[in-house]
Structure formats: structure tokens, C-alpha cells
């Protein structure tokens, strides 16, 4: 078992959550409750990481983060290190590819809140933010928790984009999935098997929790 890779993967998963979740929740609420023309295009754009091959996303992210790009150059000038093939670059790439996993369950949860409850909150004298944190967030939490679980599990298991953007630097960008690949290439099947089983268990647990929460959300929708 490559514990350095395990710790790095967990760090990456947590950092991705911290970076992605707040804007994802706000964006999900906006998409759920704001009717506007062209909404379907934005939803489609956000779902792009689901359909594009990870190598394609990885390639473009590498181009955007590379030292030839304005973003990569600015980062290098500011921090004195390159964005590509660094942990920071990996977090940004990971946040990007996890957008649909974070936004979609939260959006469905916000959509499930009946309009009457939003209006009742207004009639109770609540401001937008009071209504958001006292009414909407508690009601949408199963969807938000589902988003957290899905993003967490997906980050732990992501391979293609991580390899393209981060490469395979031990302690910096070698995550669990890369380590499994690395050990398999070196015919260390015991280590690869242990780590694969670890990821499998995490994935099963995530799916179970997500589906359980979705069921709970449906039940609540039926009750209201």
C-alpha cells in the first residue's frame, strides 16, 4: 500500500471540495431557481467533463496551465513554480472535472424544493440569505451531501486528467489511481490489488450513501 499516495489523494479530495463546493452550491441554486434563456447551454457546458475523454480535458488544462499561457505565466511569476505538474494545478484540474458531480445533485435538490416554500419564507419576512441558510440549505442537504460524496469518490479515483496535468511525481502528484497504474506496470499486483480494493470499497460506500440520500429526497418531495 502506497500510503503517501493515499494521503495525497485524500488531501486532493479535501482541497477539491473546499475549492469547488461553495461555487457549485451557489451555481446549482442559481440554475435550479432562475429561469433564463440559454440555461440549457450552460447546463450542457457544465456536463461536458462527463462526456469528454479525460485525455482531451487533460490536454486543454495542460495548455491553459502551461508556462506559455497567461494563467501559467502569472502563476509562475507570483509563486515561482509552474502550475502544471504541481499539487495546486492538480486541485484546479480536479475541481474542473468534478463540476458535474458537484452541481447536478445539488441542482436537483434545490429544484425539489416547492415554490410555495420559497414564497412562505418571503412571507415570514426572511431575507434572501436567511431563506438560503435556514430553509433552502437544510432542505437541499441530501443532494448537497450526495454531491460531496460523489466528488470525493471521483477525485480519489480520477486517473486520466491527473496523469495529464500532474504526471507521476511522488508526494506531489502521484495519487492512488496513478500509484495503482504504476504498481501494475511494475508487476506489483499485491499492492495494486490492495489499493484497488480500497478504492472499490470507497466507491461502493459512496454509491450507497448517494442513493440513500436520493431516496430520502424523493420521499420528502412526496410529503410536501
Amino acid at each position: 500500500m502506497d500510503w503517501v499516495a493515499v494521503v495525497l489523494s485524500l488531501k486532493l479530495a479535501i482541497a477539491t471540495q473546499l475549492l469547488l463546493l461553495p461555487p457549485a452550491i451557489i451555481g446549482a441554486r442559481w440554475l435550479a431557481l432562475t429561469p433564463f434563456r440559454g440555461k440549457v447551454w450552460i447546463e450542457g457546458l457544465l456536463a461536458l467533463p462527463l462526456v469528454l475523454p479525460p485525455t482531451v480535458i487533460g490536454y486543454y488544462l495542460l495548455v491553459i496551465m502551461g508556462s506559455q499561457s497567461p494563467l501559467g505565466r502569472s502563476f509562475e511569476n507570483w509563486w515561482g513554480q509552474s502550475l502544471a505538474f504541481s499539487f495546486t494545478g492538480l486541485v484546479i484540474a480536479s475541481a474542473f472535472i468534478n463540476i458535474p458531480f458537484a452541481v447536478q445533485p445539488a441542482q436537483r435538490a434545490f429544484e425539489a424544493i416547492p415554490t410555495e416554500l420559497h414564497e412562505a419564507a418571503k412571507c415570514c419576512g426572511l431575507t434572501f440569505w436567511q431563506s438560503f441558510h435556514r430553509i433552502e440549505l437544510p432542505l437541499a442537504w441530501p443532494g448537497i451531501l450526495s454531491a460531496v460524496m460523489m466528488t470525493f469518490a471521483h477525485t480519489l479515483g480520477e486517473f486520466g486528467v491527473v496523469l495529464m496535468v500532474g504526471g507521476n511525481i511522488p508526494g506531489e502528484t502521484r495519487t492512488l489511481a496513478i500509484s495503482i497504474y504504476d504498481r501494475t506496470q511494475s508487476f506489483d499486483f499485491t499492492a495494486a490489488g490492495t489499493m484497488s480494493l480500497f478504492l472499490l470499497l470507497i466507491s461502493v460506500a459512496t454509491i450507497a450513501v448517494s442513493y440513500g440520500l436520493a431516496e430520502r429526497l424523493l420521499r420528502r418531495r412526496r410529503l410536501t
Binding site: 416547492p114 410555495e116 412562505a120 415570514c124 419576512g125 426572511l126 430553509i135
Partner: protein, 357 residues
Amino acid sequence: MSLRVAIYHHAPELDFEAVIPVGQISALVGPSGSGKTSILRGIAGLLKTRHARISLANEDWDTQDLHRPTRERSIGMVPQQHALFPHLSVLGNVEMALGHLGRAEKRQRAQESLQLAQIAELANRRPQELSGGQRQRAALARAIARKPQLVLLDEPFSAIDRGMRKRLYLELRHLHQQLHNTVLLVTHDLDEAAQLASYLLLIDQGRLLQAGETTQVLTQPRCEQAARLLDIPNIFNARIIETAGQRQLQWGEHRLKISADISPACGKVKFAVLPQNPLLVKSDRPWGSHLENPVSALVRDIVTLGGEVVLWLQPLNMPETRLQVRLPERAIRRYPVISGSQVTVCLRAADIVLLED
């Protein structure tokens, strides 16, 4: 002192203007899809209207340049499905409306509201654990907690069984006597409106047809559309004629006196007669000039409905016309009437309602 409302909107089409008295229970009555709920939402500031002018007493809520958000309007609202927050207890729901108060005062005020709505013992229950009537009370407790000047009720009794509804009517009246605030009730149920409201607003297709004291609107519809909304079956075509300087109604071969208070122009007109108003004259009793507007008719059909008997009468020589008369069942027991027999009914001048075009 009144609630002045003018709302113009498309989708749903609204062209509504009304002046609603404060301190009373008023009912907004109309068929499904007539825009009742949209008007209520407009008053609450929940509907983005094309143009609205709304003021309560001397306070403007909506003008050309002003749109006060819902939280700045002194309103409490009970929506159709009650809209209780499912993640909060009944007490939590009521306290949610009292966010402007400190903790202790909020708790005390919430408990007072629950007591007024007679559900103090259900304070810790979740909405999912309540019956329809209890949910309605909880929503009402939440609506009155802020002591609003205006309480908006959107068909609050529609999902409640009949027995419970009657009790809730009494409780609402009782509550209103204690609070004296302005209540605007939306309903499509005329009986409900008649029992609860002292002021009635009839609307159809987003327009106000008639407004006034409840008994006056129910018995004196202004136009044919209003009469049909009030479910008055007896709407007839006639002519106003003038005989010996007096305006009368020529209805088929029958000449009917009309109330002296009105002097309509001669010509075609429509009139309505409430089915409970015609007087049935006993056949063996001689009748003469003391009877007002006697009309001979054949009994075409008789149906007993609850404690009432509904007669369909065909006035003589008017084969296409049917006059519906509703009588208490005991009246028919006293004066038996059979299908096919000839009877005489009096259509008193005061009961003939001329309808505007």
C-alpha cells in the same frame, strides 16, 4: 381606510381593480383559473406584475416607482398547500416568522400564536405528522404570528374534509373577532365565502365583476356573468315596456312589475331570479290582486336534494323556458305538488334582478 389593489398583468391575464374594506373578512371568489391566486400573490409582492398599484391604509406597497419586497409588507399568508417547512417543528415554523424578535420574546409570541390557533399541544410535531386540519391551523398560526395588518388565505380549506372545515370556519371567525385584522380569503366555494366573508369580490378571467356586501352580491348580481358565477339558474330574456307611465317586464306573455327603485331604458333586457325566491301559491287557495306578479306554470320535473326540493316549472305558453324553484322539503309536504300539474308562482318585483349587458 382600505386596501386598494390595481394589478395589470399578462400570463395570467389580470386587469383587476378593487377597494377592499379593512378590518373585515373579504372573499375573492371566482372559478378555477380566474386569477384569484395570482391576485393574492400580487398583493403579497410574490408576483412580478406588469403594473400594480397596491396600498394598505396610507402605506404604498406598489406604485409606478416603488415595489416593496414581500418581507416589508405587513402580511401573513396561508397558501393552498399550507407550505409548512418540513424540516422544522410546528413551533419552529411559527418562530421562523418572528426572526426580528429576541429569543425569549420569539418563543413567547410563537406559543401565543399556537394557542390562538388551538394547536399548542402540537408544538413539537413535524408537519408530516399532522392531519390536514392541524396543518391548516399551524399555517394560520405562522401567518398571524407577526401580527400582520393583512392576512391572505389561499383556498386554505380545500384539502380539508367537510366536518373539519365547518369547525375551522367557526375558529377563523372567532380568531378574527379577537385580532380585528383584514383578511382576504380566496375561494371558489360560494358557500364558504357566504359563511365567512362580510365583503365579496366576484372575479372572472382576471377582472372584477362585482364587489360589495356579501348578501347584496349574492342576491343582486350586476351582470349575467356574475349571475352565472353565483350559480343562479334562472336567467331569462325579456323586454322592458312602458304601460301607463310605468316600466314593466314583458316575459313571454307575462307582464311583471319591477322594483320602483329602478327605471331601466325600454328594450331588450336579461333578468335573473334566485331559485329560492319565487313563492308557490297553494292551488286550492283563491288568489287575486294581492299577489305580486303571479305566473301560471306546469311542473316539468321534481327532484329532492337533501332537505330541499327542486322544481322545474314551465311558464304557460313558454315551452322552451324553465324556471327553477327551490323549496324546503317540509313546504312540499304541506302543499303536495306532482309532476305535470299546474301551479302558480309569484315572482315578487323585489326579487327580479335586471342584469347589465
